[in-house]
């Protein structure tokens, strides 16, 4: 008995819809087995992990709050990925957005103007774009692989942030701890739902989803970028500039990530710290894939990812499960998704050589 992966004449749409579901169910299954193996009641554990984290208004607010930066980053990344522009450095662009936005907040610390916040958001957007411009430039000018460049820049960005909060931007009243001054009220994103921490950053994320959809589906440029990703030779022949594709892909991804970054420091964090993101930029990559590079899919996938984070925390609190379970689930989710994705473009065929040989006789 042999297994063959036969290419399909046309990608299967059913498989496209099913694969995220299959992946999610697989993760639940793994969770079931894992929790049982650890001696916990698996149903209760699954409940604690996936249902309980969102059973109060505050918790729903937390879910959406955590999903916002991931959603923002993922939408931007997906546009690039569809065009074969592999931005892996969203985390670094997020940090840069936080730095630029935070910088504006600190520069206007004594101001009470309502313009501070919009200025911060713009600064964050530009900061992320600027950081993404580096791999874009190096790719278009020097052919340098943007995967590696953007990844390296994540580290550089986090060191720059560390330098700033340890030294130049350290709060003089902060007893020498590495942190900036707390941002004033005008520099913080307004609350959206009282009794929760949800702020208007969520609206920004939703707007990104909507704009992303419009861009990809309805705009000429978005169409051209998709073609460039699916058939680079054809795109080139049709006159679609590969350079413009790379630049747009990187800048959009960087801008979204930058916005996510300023959203974090102008939101739940409220200042600049040495660490402003628990890996949202990398989680966004997973979300982009699980969401099938489609803005609506990304919306749901970021909620799922956010749930994984919250669930891990709840599992820790209630079941004494280690926090590492979250990372396990995240990795597993992506693996199963990638595996299930195969069936979009390939069919599984089983052949029985012995039977054929017998028939020949």
């Amino acid at each position: 008995m042999r297994f063959h992966l036969e290419p399909r004449p046309e990608p299967s749409r059913l498989a496209g819809w099913l694969s995220p579901l299959v992946a999610t169910i697989a993760v639940l299954g793994i969770g079931f087995v894992l929790f049982s193996a650890m001696g916990k009641n698996p149903w209760h554990a699954l409940y604690v992990f996936f249902i309980e984290p969102v059973d109060t208004l505050y918790d729903v607010g937390e879910l959406l709050l955590k999903a916002s930066p991931i959603m923002l980053c993922a939408v931007g990344l997906a546009i690039g990925y569809r065009a074969n522009v592999w931005n892996i450095g969203a985390e670094g662009q997020l940090i840069m957005g936080a730095i630029f936005g935070g910088g504006v907040a600190l520069a206007f610390h004594d101001s009470a103007s309502p313009l501070v916040l919009p200025l911060m958001l713009v600064a964050g957007l530009l900061g992320g774009m600027a950081w993404a411009a580096i791999p874009a430039f190096l790719r278009t000018r020097f052919n340098a692989n943007e995967i590696l460049v953007s990844l390296m820049l994540v580290y550089v960005a986090s060191f720059i942030l560390s330098l700033l909060v340890h030294d130049a931007w350290r709060d003089p009243e902060g007893f020498n701890f590495p942190q900036s001054k707390m941002f004033t009220d005008v520099a913080l994103l307004p609350n959206m739902v009282a009794e929760t921490r949800l702020n208007v950053g969520f609206l920004l994320a939703l707007a990104a989803v909507a704009l992303g959809w419009v861009f990809m589906r309805k705009s000429l440029v978005g169409y051209q970028m998709r073609v460039a990703g699916l058939a680079p030779a054809a795109a080139n022949y049709a006159g679609i500039s590969a350079r413009r594709t790379v630049w747009l892909g990187m800048l959009i991804g960087g801008g979204c990530a930058g916005l996510a970054g300023v959203g974090e420091v102008a939101g739940p964090i409220g200042q600049l710290l040495p660490v402003v993101s628990p890996g949202y930029g990398f989680a966004a990559i997973i979300v982009a894939f699980v969401g099938r590079l489609h803005p609506v899919g990304i919306f749901f996938a970021s909620l799922l990812m956010s749930l994984l984070y919250l669930g891990g925390e709840a599992a820790q609190m209630q079941l004494a499960l280690p926090s590492s379970v979250t990372g396990l689930f995240q990795g597993t989710l992506l693996f199963f998704l990638l595996a299930a994705d195969v069936f979009i473009n390939f069919r599984l065929r089983v052949t029985y050589p012995a039977v054929i040989a017998a028939k020949a006789v």
Partner: protein
């Protein structure tokens, strides 16, 4: 923000302000044990900052058996996520919550604002509220004693200090250690390496090895892992542990350790909460409150050294000996304390210089 949202938010602020004005003591329902929550920044493990807090928690639980139940959550990252965890504890009936790391300061204050009936105790911070007390220990007193041991046991007269962040608490520890060392060994030098992390065994052991390569033969540290002690053991030099007794990690190297003890304090605070008498306080306890003790000595430490340390310990507890008293100069020669003057708590919490005997310049001094 639109008008409706603003109105709702303002109304909530007003409501919480009124609620905050009310007495903030934690009142368990009659007969039910008081639920106490602990938030830890790292895993409990076998040694280190969190391990000592957890030991204190267990001591309190034993001392007040039947009157309290405790719950702890470990490895809660500082920052935005901490708020959710603290809030979860408050929202699930824990009326006394201990947050055991500096980085929980702002989240604790925020949650305290929303839960005025819950009492919070924040370690090593500086912000307070009606229902947020702060507590800390004068670890530097133990460091002085450690310095005496180091001064007597070192043959190269160079000690190595693996330190995390150049914040006043760490700096005063280094300075106290140097002063202790110099009080018995005027030629002693302390070399410091900053690893910029509370917990990074890889970097810590690299720092430790670097110090050893630069002639340090007694190591100590202000970080959360046992790497420095292990490095000393591997390279056959001495080490003085911190937070917990680390002799298991360096049976030949470990001379003693400056250990933290929170049990007494936790029991006292919990008892007052159980009695409905919890009040907001700023506590900075020392050796005399039983918060700092020296771990049992390695057999290579001579009896006379142990006796010397014991005397100093008693003197610090009684107030006869103050670790930071003038004349005291920093290591650039500038006078920091005039003869006969003792340092004030205020100056201590802003310490941003090295005293004589410490090599180099503090990274953050301008």
């Amino acid at each position: 923000m639109n008008r409706t949202t603003r109105r709702i938010t303002l109304a909530l602020f007003a409501a919480s302000a009124v609620a905050l004005a009310a007495p903030a003591s934690a009142q368990p329902k009659a007969g039910e044990p008081l639920k106490i929550g602990f938030v830890y920044v790292s895993p409990v493990g076998d040694a280190g900052w969190t391990f000592q807090h957890d030991t204190g928690r267990k001591e309190m639980e034993k001392a007040l058996a039947g009157k309290v139940t405790t719950k702890f959550i470990e490895s809660v990252p500082e920052g935005a996520d901490a708020e959710r965890v603290i809030r979860e504890l408050a929202a699930t009936g824990h009326n006394l919550i201990f947050t055991t790391s500096f980085g929980y300061m702002n989240p604790t204050i925020k949650v305290a604002g929303t839960f005025p009936k819950v009492s919070f105790e924040h370690a090593t911070g500086y912000k307070t509220a009606k229902n947020v007390g702060i507590y800390n220990a004068r670890f530097y007193e133990g460091r002085y004693l450690a310095g005496i041991v180091a001064g007597k046991m070192s043959k190269t007269n160079v000690a190595g200090y693996v330190a995390a962040f150049p914040i006043p608490e760490v700096v005063m520890g280094i300075n106290a250690f140097a002063r202790g060392m110099r009080s018995v060994n005027p030629k002693a030098e302390v070399k410091v390496i900053w690893v910029n992390s509370w917990f990074d065994p890889g970097k810590e052991s690299e720092a430790a090895n670097t110090l050893i390569s630069q002639q340090a033969d007694v190591l100590t540290h202000h970080t959360d892992s046992t790497a420095a002690v292990q490095a000393a053991e591997a390279k056959k030099v001495y080490a003085i542990g911190y937070h917990s007794d680390m002799s298991k990690y360096g049976p030949n190297a470990h001379l003693t350790a400056v250990t933290h003890h929170w049990g007494n304090y936790y029991t006292k605070v919990a008892q007052s909460a159980v009695d409905g008498k919890w009040a907001q306080t700023n506590v900075w306890g020392g050796i005399k409150d039983g918060m700092i003790k020296m771990a049992p000595y390695n057999k290579v430490v001579p009896a006379d050294v142990q006796a010397l340390v014991k005397t100093a310990e008693t003197d610090i507890a009684s107030g006869k000996l103050n670790v930071f008293t003038g004349p005291m100069k920093d290591n650039t020669g500038k006078e920091r304390l005039a003869a006969g003057k003792a340092i004030t708590d205020g100056d201590l919490s802003k310490m941003d210089y090295y005293v004589e005997g410490v090599v180099g310049k503090l990274p953050t001094s301008k």
